[in-house]
């Protein structure tokens, strides 16, 4: 029997992206630069997070024309973002044939209470998480891939590190618990009990987990890989740097050789300016994107 859109097929594409870099792009030219640098996929969006931050207003799904231009230009997978809870944008992205939908806090949320029911789609979803409970809630809703939220558009990796460490610590705690503790752990995490039980046994998430939100240099990527993520998303870090093609390539190489500092050193030389960074403490609560969704 031939089946499409199965859990294995959805999660499987994310498995193929492991060890790779997914880059935010706003048009076909940027997508081409990303592909030539060795990106495993591109993420189509209207503005990179740093510009969303700067210009404000409501950030929405990209114009379908832009997405199609990107699809027609590159042969690697094309992902695109929809607003949290905006199942109609998600349906449009599925109709366009994007390879993955990112239900993203970087865009302005459409629903403050509910995320999209991702089981209802053939196209797989990736969702952001700050902690294990959030990751398991999204997986419970059908997400086939998870990423840290970090703090997008800041060029500051500290929040991505915080989120990854939180997830890892919470997973480790589960593996040391007795079976009788798992229901109250599920209650405290706000996570589906079945997923908590499975994780307590395996010690790892049932889906691929990437880093995102604030990765700006090759060493940032190596840092996140060293914390145990499966790969990285780079948003503004490439196209807000002084030399996007060079930066993109260096981040790809540092991601493969994250545990070989001499390679990371070599690829980090002479890259020019990284994107300008923002101190997280300088952001108002309302300017923080990671708090969107629950």
């Amino acid at each position: 029997m031939v089946e499409i859109g199965t859990e294995r097929v959805k999660r499987g594409l994310a498995e193929m992206l492991k060890g790779g870099v997914i880059m935010d792009v706003v048009d076909a030219d940027q997508a081409k630069i990303a592909e030539e640098a060795g990106a495993v996929a591109v993420m189509a969006l209207e503005r990179v997070p740093a510009d969303i931050r700067k210009h404000g207003g409501v950030a929405r799904m990209s114009d379908p024309t832009k997405i199609e231009e990107i699809q027609n230009t590159v042969s690697i997978p094309v992902m695109a973002k929809c607003r949290i809870g905006h199942f109609a944008e998600a349906a449009v992205l599925q109709a366009l044939g994007v390879d993955y939908i990112d239900e993203s806090e970087v865009l302005t949320p459409a629903d403050e209470e509910h995320h999209v029911d991702k089981w209802a789609f053939t196209t797989p979803f990736v969702c952001g998480a700050r902690n294990l409970g959030e990751a398991l809630r999204r997986i419970g809703e059908g997400a086939a891939m998870i990423r840290t939220k970090g703090e997008a558009g800041t060029g500051n990796v500290v929040e991505a590190v915080r989120h990854m460490r939180t997830v890892t610590n919470e997973m480790r705690a589960l593996t040391t618990m007795g079976d009788e503790q798992l229901m109250s752990a599920a209650r405290d995490l706000g996570a589906p009990y079945e997923l908590v039980r499975e994780l307590a046994k395996t010690g790892k998430l049932p889906v691929v987990n990437f880093a995102a939100g604030g990765i700006a240099t090759p060493a940032d990527s190596a840092l996140m890989m060293g914390l145990g993520v499966d790969g990285v998303f780079v948003g503004s870090g490439v196209f807000k740097s002084s030399d996007p093609a060079l930066y993109a390539r260096a981040i790809v190489e540092a991601t493969t050789f994250w545990n070989e500092p001499e390679v990371v050193a070599k690829v980090s030389r002479g890259l020019g300016e990284a994107m300008p960074g923002l101190e997280i403490g300088s952001l108002d609560e309302s300017e923080r994107l990671a708090g969107r969704g629950w």
Partner: protein, 190 residues
């Protein structure tokens, strides 16, 4: 015990290592040219073929891989691995290891929404193989020395030519080790 390398530049390396270990092989990651000399066989995993090819060029792995495969080292490629082992692809000019006398069409079944799993009839296996196809390629043209071991809608999706085995699908995403065992048998000279 056979020492089998998995090319670890990008892709689902871990799944291949796991399945090889479950079959009793000594499975190791290959990221550097000199490591190619220390293995009895090689797997090129699923992943993004353009990324893996570019990284192989940049880090000096393409030539050592070519000469190993030409020299008869048993090698198995899944999906991206099949593309990299092919002599040619229908579109684009990405770096390839080559030696497998076929022309491959990338993403031939379509985008992710068309990705599928199905029970596949594989020559040499008694029972169906649950095959997972993800943005999978198929083989458009087959050379005269290439054996076609499985097809989907008449398109070859599994082939063997001498020391080279290739599938469009991903046995490593299942618990079924029968195709990996074929590679181990090739290494063992069976």
């Amino acid at each position: 015990m056979s020492r089998v390398g998995v090319l670890a530049l990008q892709g689902d390396v871990r799944e291949h290592l796991r399945i090889l270990e479950s079959l009793g092989a000594d499975a190791v990651e290959v990221k550097h040219p000199e490591q190619v000399e220390d293995i009895d066989g090689l797997i090129i995993p699923g992943g993004e073929s353009t990324t893996i090819g570019k990284m192989a060029v940049r880090f000096g792995l393409l030539e050592p891989l070519r000469s190993a495969v030409r020299g008869g080292m048993p090698v198995y490629g899944t999906c991206a691995g099949m593309i990299l082992l092919a002599d040619a692809v229908t579109e684009g000019d990405q770096p390839l290891v080559g030696s497998l006398d076929v022309v491959v069409r990338r993403n031939a079944f379509g985008r992710q929404n068309e990705s599928f799993e199905a029970d596949l009839d594989v020559e040499g296996l008694d029972e169906f193989f649950r095959a997972v196809f993800i943005r999978a390629p198929w083989i458009e043209k087959v050379g005269s020395e290439v054996d076609v071991l499985a097809t989907v809608e008449d398109h070859p999706v599994m082939v063997r030519q001498r020391n080279i085995l290739a599938t469009s699908f991903h046995p490593e995403l299942t618990r079924d080790g029968r195709i990996h065992q074929m590679l181990l048998d090739m290494i063992g000279g069976k």
